[in-house]
Amino acid sequence: MYDDRLFWNALGGGTKYTILIVGAVIMLLPFFWMVNASLMTAGEIQAQPPVWLPAEPQFSNYTKLLDTVPLGRQYLNSLIITCSTVVGVLFTSSLAGFAFAKYEFPGKNILFYCILATMMIPFFVTLIPVFYIIRQLGWIDSYQGIIVPGLTSAYGIFLMRQFIGTLPDELFDAARIDGASEPKIYFRIVLPLIRPALATLGTFTFIGSWNSFLWPLLVTNSRDLMTVPLGLNSLRLFAAEARNLDLLMAGTTLSVLPTLILFIFLQRYFIRGIALTGLKG
């Protein structure tokens, strides 16, 4: 009886790992194939019968890519836009979250529900008017045109309010007795204590902003403002004509690298953030 169970457990464990490994291979295969193809010659990629691995890794694809595409500029643009968005969202969300969690003021509840309601509004409903507003402001083809509409984060305010709500009031009252002003309380007490929540919101905002495509596509025209996804899009259209699939795969590899590296280092913040929102529902 005992041996029997051991046998079944071992078998069950074996199937478990087999399924997990098959799943993991499927998950990794596109990334592997992207890197693999980025090291092939254009001829090898299209060869029939197929070539599975490069005869000799063509690292020159990457240098060729850097010669043809202003990749540095695109990274710089993405970095400027993403970092401004992250800093802006963290600052405004934590400040508003603090007010909603720890202050009483007329209209507080209505305002908070309005902000929650915006989470339900799909992006495409406001797309045309916001585009129009940005154009009227003369912000087409500018960093602020890409950044500013993304600075109001209902999700961020909600997350921060929940987190700051758990901090004890005595902390703030003690600081007030010591003569601290309200902004000072925010900077000296709230900000240091909510670092984990900031990390969670910051990583989510970073990924969302770095990967965002439709909005930058709409509000920019010039090559000087191309972000990494926009650059990939134009490389895709260029490669479709010129059949430069080696360059396309090298470009795709370089475009997905930053978020993947960021994720591998900060994965616990993601998992925690998702677990938090998931369990709320």
Binding site: G107, L111, P122, T126
Partner: protein, 318 residues
């Protein structure tokens, strides 16, 4: 409003640590002012980028507008845009159907695969973090980039998938190049991208179920299937509700992935509502019609969400 004020003063009276030597009135007023300063930026954002645009969008949907003529001179169209979309537009019904199929296929697969893999990862497993990271990688990747990679892998002539098929003596498939296969391939890519997210959510849900329940059930002689059927599934219902609702809302808005793989083709077989709306607005400058499309989809999303909440919640009460 008065209620808020009353609760405010009550809060002050009972605040244990408020210093008695300070003038309470002016202090409170000062704090209220600071609170307004703190919420000022999101408040402006809310007005300028959400509330204002929604009203404006609704107004535009009742007009003919190309975004070039001044707002004051927009030609009134009444409900013409809506009527046109629902009765004459040949692409819109196709886009609606594709969007629904995309959502149904994607949500169904994500629930089954998400729960399945979460169950596998929930037990005693070596390298749990590593598995989670691997399954989560595509979630982090731009849909555009995944579209490029999969478009390359599924290419008819040189794609690795077709090369594998040929190696197995199966004829080459057009995949994204044929109306009968393109949507299915797009759904597969979308599931590939987001299933890791739902695995993590289900995993969090599974970890929230107390072990005592399973212990009690096994004392009563329940087998693994019975515990799963009568403990795990019912207790995971809120998580499934969350997965179904959020995934449906997201799937009905799909744009980037379709844009990068098929751009709606071939023969509109993968066109979605948001892509059709994007083309209508920014290729053909028909802002009124595009806004009407946005409102129809918005209404559909709201209705589906309410139905899902009601249906799935009611069943919880059974």
């Amino acid at each position: 409003m008065t209620q808020t004020r009353r609760s405010t003063s009550a809060g002050v009276l009972h605040a244990p640590a408020s210093p008695p030597h300070l003038r309470r009135g002016s202090l409170m007023r000062q704090r209220t002012i600071w609170a307004y300063v703190f919420v000022a930026a999101p408040l402006v954002g809310l007005l300028v980028f959400f509330l204002g645009p929604i009203v404006f969008s609704g107004w535009v949907s009742l007009h003919d507008w190309n975004m070039i003529t001044p707002v004051a001179d927009m030609a009134w169209a009444g409900l013409d845009n809506y009527i046109y979309l629902l009765t004459q537009d040949t692409v819109f019904p196709k886009a609606l159907l594709n969007t629904f199929l995309f959502a149904i296929g994607g949500v169904g697969s994500n629930v089954v695969l998400g729960l399945g893999f979460a169950l596998l990862l929930n037990g005693k497993i070596r390298g749990k973090t590593l598995w989670r990271v691997i399954y989560f990688l595509p979630v982090m990747t731009a849909p555009l980039a995944l579209g490029v990679i999969f478009g390359f892998m599924f290419n008819r002539n040189y794609g690795v998938v077709n090369n594998l098929l040929v190696a197995l003596s199966i004829p080459r498939q057009p995949f994204l190049g044929h109306p009968s296969q393109a949507l299915l391939v797009v759904i597969i890519i979308a599931v590939y991208q987001y299933v890791g997210y739902y695995i993590v959510i289900y995993l969090a849900g599974l970890q929230g179920i107390p072990q005592d329940y399973y212990d009690a059930a096994s004392v009563d002689g329940a087998n693994k299937w019975q515990s799963f059927r009568h403990i795990t599934l019912p207790l995971l219902r809120p998580v499934t509700l969350f997965v179904v609702v959020t995934n449906t809302i997201g799937a009905l808005q799909v744009f980037d992935l379709v844009f990068a793989t098929t751009n709606g083709g071939p023969a509109n077989s993968t066109i979605t509502v948001v892509l059709h709306m994007y083309n209508t607005a920014f290729k053909f400058s028909r802002m009124g019609r595009a806004s009407a499309m946005a409102f129809i989809l918005f209404a559909i999303i709201l209705t589906i969400t309410i139905l899902q909440l009601r249906f799935l919640r009611d069943r919880t009460n059974e």
